[in-house]
């Protein structure tokens, strides 16, 4: 499907030709939104990460998406997803949504990942799914100030925890490292009275406001 076809099809669900994809999206819509006040170990989080042609939101485009689930505080290799956007962006994105369900999602530098993904959802699926986004870029220095007390690069956090991954700057490779950081973050959050996704999201919002004010 090229951009012209999409343009003609318009930004509605009517543009989804593939019945399997339409079915998957229908199921996703029917899901109940996960209760964000549940404790971490009862919450299924999805670590989301993207791979783009660059870091410029205006010019660069999405190449691939990766997702790793954290369920009951554990990462199981079977609970992971990775796919390039081409040749079937609709299938890729629909699968990604099915994988995430309606639980909270975790990213590192969420602003970029989120914008990239939302634009892709909009373009290819015709809507932007509403998800609860958590950003480790902001949360990690708040939770582990004794390690690094300011927003730092992923490499710095990996270094601090001694975390390794099989391939850096690969959507899934980085997601694997981010997911391990997320395990640590959830554990620390629990003992610091940020026991749910909602509590973490609130804390993240406050941190952002503080930073803007200072």
């Amino acid at each position: 499907m090229n951009w012209l076809a999409k343009l003609i099809a318009g930004r509605s669900d009517g543009g989804i030709q593939d019945p399997a994809v339409a079915e998957a999206l229908e199921q996703w819509r029917a899901l109940e939104v996960a209760d964000p006040t549940r404790p971490h170990f009862e919450t299924r989080y999805t670590v989301l990460n993207t791979e783009a042609t660059g870091l410029n939101l205006e010019q660069d485009s999405l190449l691939a998406v990766a997702a790793i689930a954290i369920d009951e505080g554990q990462i199981a290799p079977s609970q992971s997803y990775y796919a390039p956007l081409t040749p079937e962006p609709v299938v890729t994105l629909a699968n990604l949504l099915s994988f995430c369900g309606k639980g909270p999602v975790i990213a590192f530098n969420a602003a970029f990942n989120r914008s990239m993904l939302e634009r892709a959802f909009e373009t290819h699926l015709g809507f932007v799914p509403e998800l609860l986004w958590l950003d480790l870029y902001v949360l990690l220095p708040a939770l582990f100030p004794e390690r690094i007390d300011h927003p730092a690069r992923l490499a710095d956090w990996m270094n601090s925890f001694g975390i390794e991954t099989f391939q850096r700057h690969h959507a899934l490779g980085d997601a694997w490292a981010i997911a391990q950081l997320a395990l640590a973050a959830n554990s620390r959050a629990l003992s610091s009275a940020y026991g749910s996704a909602r509590a973490l999201a609130d804390m993240e919002r406050m941190r952002r406001q503080l930073r803007r004010q200072s």
């Binding site: 990462i75 290799p77 992971s80 997803y81 925890f161 390794e164 099989f166 391990q180 554990s187």
Partner: protein
């Protein structure tokens, strides 16, 4: 389509696990089974991963990153003592999960840690599908020991392979084409030819190549230089006629024997027609001394002087190297070394006896310390003494003087054969250690009555005595008396125990090992000694006659009702430390530096480090037992 996300993550886990034993040897399908099912979880510093209170162990854990401490639960005193720290690649709780019971230890994260875990059911299935993993789990320490031995073998087998056997035909050892001159050659030109071809000797032969004589470098000084021999005269005037020769089919061993018998350094190799094929030097043979136990033994027993015994002593070291290459364990190895050193010592004593009038004197030459325990490594100095009985009509003083003079010669010759003189003068030539049976009893008795630190130190050396030569009954009598005296004296045993517990295994709480300032561990002082000291006390307490640590532990275990597998693990630990000592001594000796017992744990491979840790844990277990027994 490229690899799916689960495939990539499984690949990452399996790459990680392959850095550790036993996963690096695991069957591919078993490793795939494991990594597909292993989930990763985080354990914050200070949190409990698994405790006995959690009930039946439901998961098997493999540490991915961080440190987990295992603490024995129970009485508080025990808890503090029996803890150990595990790092990446290590797994737990093998016993509990395979027996479907609660863990006996509590596992606490001492750092922020990540662990892979699989369910108990998957663990069982993995054991069934993977013989490697099964072996790993059931023979935890034993299998590690084997592997290490195998690794040791590969290190040495290369070197051993370079050595040919002493049965190699001489013709194979000849490296250069034969060089010879005719008998009428001027001596000067013969010497020029020697220098030019860089050879150590010049053969003189007739035109067909039949050897007539030889002139070696060592002949130059006495025959040419000092008498100012006229170099224009023919070489036949100065050569050694009728040189020693052997056919090319003779063995290297024959050549060594010929050289040793006639005291020569070069031997001519000839073909079936008696024509020169080449020259074999002593040095050529030296490089392939792969001599058997029997040969060395025969060599020792037939030796008539110290030179021959010195050669035998070198052979013993060479043999030890070969035995390590063949993968022999440290117990047998130290026994071999011990047996050969005993034979060597006996021969030295017999040779010395010929120079001293000891006719009719009832005495026993005894070894103390590691030699007394059959645990000699390659860098042991002599520790010896004499037990004797003074005949009724003789005077003690003059007789002792004769024995001391005799002992001095033995000590000197032992030193010449590679057993350095004892710096602490623990030698039979010291009149203080050349005592009658009654004097020894008094000496031992005074230590037992007043166990001050020096007495305890003495006890740790002298109580491990063993008769090497002479009347064995003297040793038996002293041993029987000693066991009887100490068995009833629990205060003395307690002092010995307190002394033994002063050195603790160098295991760290956070780091693997506690090292000395130079980054090393002294495997004698903080390794072998831990086992030896406890074994000695157990032997005294249970009245065991052997002086060997392993026998003492085994026999004491039987008497005290310790399960055989428990004592086997302890002995394995002791053997491993001894093996590491021997290995480092060997490698160092080859480089020519003095051997000591220090080892830098950072230079060990992952496997050896882990076994060493396990060995130290066994030492700690042993010490703990002693601590409880004597309530220290």
């Amino acid at each position: 389509m490229t690899a799916s996300a689960p495939e990539m993550l499984v690949g990452a886990s399996s790459d990680f696990l392959k850095r550790f034993s036993p996963f690096n040897r695991m069957e591919p399908e078993a490793l795939a089974f494991l990594t597909q099912r292993a989930v990763l979880a985080f354990h914050a510093r200070g949190s409990e991963v698994l405790t006995p209170e959690m009930g039946q162990a439901r998961h098997f854990y493999i540490i991915q990153r961080g440190k987990i401490q295992s603490r024995q639960t129970g009485a508080t005193a025990v808890t503090e003592y029996a803890s150990m720290t595990m790092g990446p690649g290590e797994c737990f709780p093998i016993g509990a999960v395979s027996a479907s019971r609660p863990s006996t230890n509590a596992y606490i994260a001492v750092e922020d840690s990540f662990c892979f875990q699989i369910s108990a059911d998957d663990f069982m299935q993995l054991m069934q599908m993977s013989p490697v993993f099964h072996l790993f789990c059931t023979q935890y320490i034993a299998s590690l020991l084997n592997q290490s031995r195998q690794q040791l073998q590969t290190t040495f087998s290369q070197r051993a392979a370079e050595q040919q056997t002493m049965t190699t035909p001489l013709l194979q050892l000849v490296k250069k084409k034969p060089i010879f001159v005719s008998p009428d050659t001027a001596t000067r030109s013969a010497l020029e030819k020697m220098a030019e071809s860089r050879i150590g000797c010049m053969v003189v032969a007739d035109p067909e190549g039949h050897p007539l004589g030889i002139l070696t470098q060592s002949d130059l000084l006495p025959r040419l230089l000092l008498p100012a021999f006229d170099l224009s005269r023919p070489i036949s005037d100065v050569m050694t006629a009728n040189p020693h020769q052997l056919p090319g089919t003779a063995s290297a061993y024959d050549a060594a024997l010929e050289m040793a018998t006639h005291g020569i350094r070069h031997l001519l190799v000839i073909d079936s027609e008696g024509r020169l094929q080449g020259v074999v030097s002593e040095r050529d043979l030296f490089s392939l001394q792969r001599i058997s136990l029997r040969q060395i033994r025969a060599g020792i027993e037939s030796a008539n002087d110290i030179d021959a015994l010195q050669r035998a002593s070198k052979d013993i070291r060479q043999l030890a190297l070969n035995l390590i290459a063949q993968g022999i364990g440290s117990e047998q190895l130290t026994q071999f070394i011990s047996a050969l050193n005993d034979a060597l010592t006996r021969r030295i004593i017999v040779l010395a006896q010929a120079h001293h009038d000891l006719y009719g004197v009832d005495y026993a030459w005894v070894a103390f310390g590691s030699e007394g325990r059959h645990e000699q490594t390659l860098s042991t100095d002599q520790d010896n003494g004499i037990i004797w009985i003074c005949p009724e009509f003789d005077q003690v003083g003059p007789l002792r003087a004769r024995l001391v003079a005799f002992a001095a010669e033995v000590n000197k010759h032992l030193a010449a054969c590679g057993f350095p003189l004892c710096k602490g003068n623990i030698m039979a030539s010291n009149p203080e250690l050349c005592l009658t049976l009654d004097e020894w009893r008094n000496r031992f008795g005074s230590w037992i009555r007043e166990p001050d630190p020096q007495a305890l130190l003495n006890a740790s050396i002298f109580f491990d005595f063993r008769v090497i030569h002479g009347n064995e009954r003297l040793g038996d009598q002293l041993r029987a008396w000693l066991n009887k005296t100490t068995k009833s004296n629990s205060a003395f045993q307690r002092m010995m125990a307190g002394n033994a517990l002063q050195v603790v295994p160098p295991l760290g709480r956070i780091r693997d090992f506690v090292v000395d300032d130079d980054g090393t561990i002294d495997l004698k002082k903080s390794g072998a000694r831990l086992f030896v000291d406890v074994a000695r006390i157990l032997a005294l307490r249970t009245g065991i006659e052997s002086s060997s640590t392993v026998y003492r532990l085994r026999q004491a275990a039987v008497k005290m009702g310790v399960p055989p597998e428990e004592v086997a693990a302890i002995i394995d630990g002791f053997h491993f430390i001894q093996l590491l000592r021997l290995r480092s001594q060997h490698l160092e000796t080859e480089h020519g530096s003095p051997s000591d017992n220090k080892i830098n744990p950072d230079t060990l491979n992952e496997l050896d480090r882990r076994i060493l840790k396990e060995a130290f844990r066994q030492a700690r277990k042993l010490q703990l037992r002693l601590k409880l027994d004597y309530q220290l």
